[in-house]
Assembly symmetry: C2
Homo-oligomer: 461 residues x 2
């Protein structure tokens, strides 16, 4: 088994695509804290979430006991359009680094959304369709989620209204056109189409928008329009559940060749890719069956894990959503305008926050010029131009591989390559022109965000 020659790309058979999602919460001793009703500060009941989310997705959101949840046949069918995704042995990169480490990456970018986001988009669209809805609303930042949802909605004939963070809307007109090609309507956020958008524009007329703000707009439209619900591409428990297909496929592929990763690395914005990639490995760790070093990588300009507070906070700027317990920079935090990539959400998945709090995973932050240096090096030797988000994981994977070069250790390094950077060329252009710079928020910058975290007994920050 160990000596079986490992190909450049490991493709599973279609029959090996998972038929069940894995719910890591079932194996967690310390469950992620429940969502709270911001008025009563009591845990949200399913009924309270129904105006916002589809009923079956609410059930998934609240289910922390079932380890496996069946993937409906229609979703399995759609997965065959672009899954299994390849697990790639980075032979070219290893050679370029002259490292004894063995590097593997799970590449989720070989679909038109350009990222892993499609894994959850199709699930959420499916349950919306099943519930007989007309359409869904959502926000998008870098645009990967919006594109994925447009594709999923187009497949099921659902209307799709996307609120796109204004700075991305302007910098990424081509992303917008992909969404339109799939029939979605795309509105720059904040906009005058919602009360919350109008309010934010009145207070901050020059704002370039934020994910938290776009979420507020999308939720307002969903809850005030007959036959619509809101869907979200990250952070939520249900999203990590759907994204477990990434980790399940990865583990199946590695097991075939008898490879056990020593280090598992993923970029972390809201946590959807990282949570999905690590889930079956974390499950083993929680059950005491195996140990792995797991590293979340976030931008130094939006450091929720490494510099945030573990507290209940608003999920959105408009404070229309439930409170979630998570590592957070405060719902008013907006990364510096020079921050080029995604991973700009102020908070972090409750599941990952709890795991990090319990010492089951590490986190580190990296600066963007170092990230783009890694991206360029990777693109040149591995032939895939990576998304800026994914390149955070590449940076740390390369650094770990270089440490192995020093120590001579033949570690197995696994990372998640969430997507491609074909719609991020404005950022690459800055890097190519040598005008990209770094910005690390000061403690004072962060304090402003922390000041917005709600105060109530048990939630001192």
């Amino acid at each position: 088994m160990e000596n079986k020659k490992i190909p450049y790309k490991i493709y599973l058979d279609e029959s090996e695509i998972p038929t069940k999602w894995y719910n890591v919460r079932a194996d967690m001793k310390n469950k992620p804290a429940p969502l709270l009703n911001p008025g009563t500060l009591q845990p949200m009941k399913a009924e309270e979430l129904y105006p916002v989310f589809c009923e079956e997705l609410v059930a998934q959101e609240l289910n922390d006991s079932d380890a496996y949840i069946d993937i409906p046949e229609e979703i399995q069918n759609f997965y065959k359009m672009y899954r299994p995704s390849p697990l790639i042995r980075a032979y070219f990169l290893e050679k370029a680094l002259d490292t004894p480490a063995k590097i593997y990456y799970k590449f989720e970018g070989n679909n038109t959304s350009g990222s892993h986001k499609l894994n959850s988009a199709i699930a959420q669209a499916y349950y919306a369709k099943k519930q007989g809805l007309k359409g869904v609303t959502t926000e998008t930042g870098a645009g990967q989620w919006g594109t994925a949802l447009s594709m999923a909605c187009s497949y099921f004939g659902l209307d799709c209204k996307v609120y796109m963070v204004k700075v991305s809307y302007e910098q990424k007109p081509f992303r917008r056109e992909v969404m339109r090609t799939y029939g979605a309507s795309v509105t720059p956020s904040p906009s005058t189409t919602t009360n919350v958008g109008k309010k934010i524009l009145a207070e901050h007329p020059d704002t370039t928008g934020s994910l938290g703000c776009a979420i507020s707009e999308a939720v307002e439209v969903a809850t005030s329009t007959e036959g619509y619900r809101y869907v979200l591409g990250s952070v939520l428990n249900q999203v990590l559940l759907h994204q477990s297909v990434i980790g399940l496929e990865t583990k199946t592929a590695l097991d075939k060749y008898g490879v056990k990763p020593d280090i598992i690395i993923g970029c972390a914005g809201g946590g959807s890719n990282l949570g999905g990639l690590i889930s079956p490995f974390m499950g083993q760790k929680l059950r005491g069956e195996a140990d792995y070093r797991i590293i979340a990588v976030e931008p130094a300009s939006c450091p929720s894990f490494t510099r945030g507070k573990f507290a209940y906070d608003f999920c959105d700027t408009g404070m229309v959503c439930p409170l979630a317990k998570m590592y957070t920079l405060g719902s008013g935090f907006i990364p510096s305008a020079n921050h080029a990539g995604g991973l700009r959400y102020h908070g972090m998945s409750s599941i990952l926050s709890q795991l990090y709090h319990d010492g089951l995973m590490e986190a580190t932050s990296v600066e963007q010029t170092a990230v783009f240096e890694a991206a360029e090096q990777f693109a040149r030797v591995e032939g895939i131009l990576p998304a800026p988000e994914s390149s955070h994981a590449i940076r740390v994977a390369i650094d770990e591989a270089l440490k192995c070069k020093e120590t001579g250790e033949e570690k197995n390094i696994l990372f998640g390559l969430t997507g491609t950077g074909y719609f991020d060329m404005v950022a690459y252009e800055k890097f190519n022109d040598g005008v990209m710079n770094d910005y690390i928020p000061t403690d004072e910058d962060l304090q402003k965000g922390f000041d917005g975290i709600p105060k109530f007994p048990g939630n001192e920050v």
Copy 2:
């Protein structure tokens, strides 16, 4: 064999990547006519081509007798970065069309160049490196070839100078940035960096450029710079040779499942993809072992097969290249500015021209709004946003599948999906906005191009 369930995506094993290219010329009774020296009108000798092309590539260009040519190990190794490419059964499209036809497509877009062009780029870069050159020059239109060559040159540490048709340079800044990320220099053509560029600019100061003009500039730089040669991404015999990997993989995959295509469809600009896709099938046809209906699809706005002349013509606007016998619209022909996609070269591969002339394949032309309608439909059901070029083949594949619906025939339809449209969103935007229109050149338009075809005995048009 026939009853084996065909998966959505057929991936060959790495060990099944071809180790030899197939040279269809070896099986042609009527060989493609040789390149002529425009001064003497005699066939170009190898020595005459050495100032322009690498020596081993010249040998491949002139070799019409060896059916198989070994793929050097370094190129085989690079192919593992992104090959084998999937052969996809279009189950979703078949269902959407409600056709009894079975549709297959060979998808060459899962690499950062976004197309099949990388198959020849890496070969040409390899031979340049082997010859000890410093770098290569080339032209690019839609940008796929330039991107592919940048990737290949980056891999071998070669300098890469790209002349990009000015209209594309302006409409596709992101393509330019991908090339720069891979270390290439990109110059809009016509430019003031060459004599031929200056001359064209003096005569036509407002020109948006053409492939023929960019070729002239690239050739001039290659032949006047120590340690440089020129490389071309289509039209040439050597390119079709390298692209035979597409057809060879396709045939291996289909043979595994006992599937024989009834119709093979490919878009045709210079002929690189079509020539590569059909080569092993055409070989069988030439040897009398099997019959296939083969259809070349070209834009109605640049109809070299369907309305061009079969004659010796200049390959470039500046008339610095040898004469090639081909279906041509004249080297001065430039498609209407409203033509959105690639496939804008005035001529066609000599190999394909001869095969078409001999009745071994068909050709048809399609208008661009119909092409984008097919592209949108395909993107929505198959989950891949296709390049405008590739969408020409999709259009005809859909039309043939709809004919099968009428007749009830269960034909096997195979087409080449050459690449993705992620850098073509300006064209998609026009389509989404409903402002795309068609333009078919009049006979008078074409006559102007024909007037530029050189006149000499035996070359009456």
